[in-house]
């Protein structure tokens, strides 16, 4: 089982990577995915998360094949 994780904008700069891949045996909450991938970097308060391009809460579960994205507040327009 594998989850693809993406980082955007200033968060990509902070994390130092644009993508991760995480192999998991069971569904995992969004915040747990972050913690596993960034054990030394607490998730910033304002971070937004999307699973398969829809916004989700940080306790939503991600599962095999999902694409999870982390990004800072959006600033378009």
């Amino acid at each position: 089982m594998s989850i693809k994780v993406r980082y955007f904008a200033s968060l990509k700069d902070s994390v130092g990577r644009g993508e991760d891949e995480l192999h998991v045996s069971d569904p995992l909450a969004v915040h747990a995915v972050w913690q596993r991938l960034n054990p030394d970097f607490a998730m910033p308060d304002a971070v937004l998360a999307a699973v398969n391009m829809d916004y989700v809460a940080l306790d939503a579960l991600v599962t095999d094949g999902d694409v999870l994205a982390f990004f800072p507040p959006v600033t378009g327009g």
């Binding site: 955007f8 994205a69 959006v74 378009g76 327009g77």
Partner: protein
């Protein structure tokens, strides 16, 4: 409904005119067109800005914009709509975003265009990185609420 992401500079008025020219079946049906165009300023938070990079999340951007327009369609009797947004490198005075709504009555065009614009600002995954006159780069931290008065 049309949603476009543009890598090249465009003339917003020509784009709207061209899109409207394609709405032949709606001619005489819409009494109102509400439009917002956002342009790049050469200053922000007291600093000169000489260029800007617009990052986005390909796929999610289009999905969220479509969702926003559908929400507007559910709330107001919209006849047609156009949303355009620049991505990549932009320079001052470039058009960044266009929202245009065609409807029978003016109140709906005003309300729906503003709804789409405000939701785009708060939900569409775009991020701006400014290159200041000094050469320094910085990410814009957050968008303001367009329904509230902002300090100049």
């Amino acid at each position: 409904m049309s949603i476009k992401l543009c890598e090249q500079a465009f003339d917003p008025w020509r784009e709207i005119a061209s899109y409207q020219a394609g709405l032949a079946s709606l001619a005489g049906k819409y009494g109102a067109t509400g439009v917002f165009v956002g342009s790049m300023r050469d200053f922000n938070r007291g600093d000169g800005v000489k260029s800007m990079f617009l990052e986005h999340y390909p796929g999610m951007t289009e999905k969220q914009l479509q969702h926003i327009v559908e929400q507007a369609q559910a709330q107001w009797p919209i006849l047609e709509s156009l949303v355009m947004h620049r991505v990549g490198w932009v320079k001052p005075d470039d058009a960044l975003v266009v929202v245009a709504v065609w409807s029978a009555q003016r109140g709906d065009a005003f309300d729906a265009s503003r709804f789409i614009m405000e939701n785009l600002k708060s939900r569409a995954p775009f991020w701006k990185k400014e290159v200041l006159a000094s050469g320094a780069e910085r990410w814009v931290e957050k968008n303001t609420d367009g329904y509230q008065r902002q300090p100049g």
